[in-house]
Assembly symmetry: C2
Homo-oligomer: 332 residues x 2
């Protein structure tokens, strides 16, 4: 089997570390690894598949090396600065930041949903926002079978979505110490505030869910609203998803769809207390769907509860799955 030279940019961050773990776990065919980070992490040791690597500095020249794929997870500014450089030097960039997601020349890909968009990539591929990824995996079978008219998202998002700072703030709060990262205590609290506020009163996170869902499903007419909320949970985002389908449906048909859908585990036996849970989803790559119920307040209404590990399927694993899909499609 052919193997590839892979750079991980932001290799010492929470998502970068998880990317390395997932590359190893899913046995991605890595020939040489190039862990990169900012100056202050240069020289740190990274163990990958029992081999030791030293973190090298992210700079333009780093991409003169023989690199096939670069997984970027180093923030939007870093991606904006270095992704085009890497891409121009022939490296395929899979970028976890929001920098290029809405660029019409950059495919935004969830492999279970729109793998065909990889075919027109121009060396930069965007990895969607964590809360969007799990939602579109759950919505895609419905979209194909019944069409979707409208979506109302309300999310319950883990602190790891803010990286190590969010994680540490919850730990501090639980110990009775003051918050130093979020604007309010997150322990035993609920913050209706993820990312910055925009002029329309929405947060950037809410607009990401709206815009990215439309882009991934190739449907700008899809009507969507969102309220995104941080809860005192370390890993996994949960989502209350209210959907208005275009065509009539039977719940049994939707259960059938989900029982075979790509990347989905149906957990829907409420009588036995079986439904998706953040702590069950932790450290797995599936999207869990349950609490399937007809919404009687409209024709063709449906309620779903959707959970996935935000650092794995919501970030690192989706990026690695994109890399696998590039191989499957003969694009690398």
């Amino acid at each position: 089997m052919k193997s590839y030279n892979v750079a991980v940019v932001g290799a010492t961050g929470m998502v970068g570390q998880k990317m390395l773990q997932v590359l190893a776990e899913l046995k991605f065919p890595v020939k040489n690894l190039y862990p990169m980070a900012s100056k202050r992490s240069v020289g740190k040791e990274i163990i990958f598949n029992d081999k030791s690597y030293l973190v090298e500095e992210l700079c333009d020249e780093a991409f003169d090396q023989d690199i096939d794929i670069a997984l970027f997870s180093a923030g939007g500014d870093t991606s904006e600065r270095f992704s085009p450089v890497a891409a121009a030097k022939g490296v395929i960039v899979i970028d976890n930041s929001s920098a290029f997601r809405m660029d019409p020349l950059v495919p935004l890909v969830v492999p279970e949903v729109n793998p065909e968009d990889l075919d027109w990539h121009k060396n930069i591929i965007a990895n969607p926002n964590c809360s969007t990824i799990q939602a579109v995996v759950a919505l895609k079978p419905l979209y194909d079978a019944f069409g979707i008219e409208r979506i109302v998202y309300s999310t319950y998002q883990a602190v790891s979505g803010s990286g190590v700072n969010g994680y540490a703030d919850l730990e501090r709060g639980i110990k009775g110490e003051a918050n130093s990262f979020y604007p309010h205590p997150i322990a035993y609290n609920v913050l209706p505030h993820i990312d910055v506020f925009l002029d329309n009163g929405y947060t950037k996170e809410e607009m990401k869910m709206i815009n990215e869902t439309q882009k991934i499903l190739h449907d700008d007419s899809l009507r969507i609203t969102a309220t995104t909320v941080r809860v005192p949970v370390y890993y996994s985002h949960s989502e209350s998803v209210n959907v208005e389908l275009k065509k009539p449906f039977e719940l049994s048909a939707i259960r059938q769809l989900y029982s075979t859908a790509l990347g989905i585990v149906l957990q829907d036996d409420p009588g036995n207390n079986v439904y998706p849970l953040a702590r069950t989803a932790e450290n797995t790559d599936a999207v869990y769907v349950g609490r399937l119920r007809r919404d009687y307040s409209i024709e063709n209404g449906l309620n779903l509860w959707v959970v996935a590990d935000n650092i794995r399927k919501g970030a690192a694993s989706n990026a690695v799955q994109i890399a696998f899909e590039l191989i499957n499609r003969g694009l690398i």
Copy 2:
């Protein structure tokens, strides 16, 4: 000022204790207090307004005493058994259980919303479900000014909604101990499961929000769906409320409404990180409303974030406010 003989049934429970605290804090004119509970609490001492009372046993004969008002918070079975007895003996029962809420002969009252329903009481008045109370306080000004077509509720509910058992389960989980009350760990987790599951896939809590909202607003044509969810928070329920209004609106007009609405505190300055929060609402009687945003996915769509202390406004304080309203209306 006239004063009244008040029984508190379930005086040793979480809500009962809070009822006593609120009666004192809001200076309800109590002449004699009759704390009642089940056998195992009989003889326990209750301090109320610096006076000592002993808990007496809840039994039919207890209501032969000179009691004007009985605040019940001892569970549905106890209310079903003893409320009619008390009512038949001329006591006005304000019942916090779900036993009589949907009884067409029993008014279901939130004083800011439908105080006029007290006028037809037949000695039993039902206190609505916690998650419903705060929602209808927030919805009433919208309902009156613009009409409401449809509501999508997603809730973020505190463990104190399950009483001391829920509270203790979160404490245990934080200490790393196993859950013994909820079917799954609640610490660092999100449970889409409140009260029991019904045949239609909804929980009883979800159907309470739907049915009680319709009853309180006197509008069975109101179209509502709900997903109710437990989060690792001790006090205060938060709610993501998506509303479709009947008439066009300006956000500024809604802000204006809320700035003077009864029982509501508008907290809506997201640029300065001002929005309703569970921990801010704790131990207060207001309903906090914020994150006001147009929902662009429909005509006349609106998103709200609504928070209140579930034990105070969601239970004890609403019951005491009903008692005050009985006085205001000359009904006692």
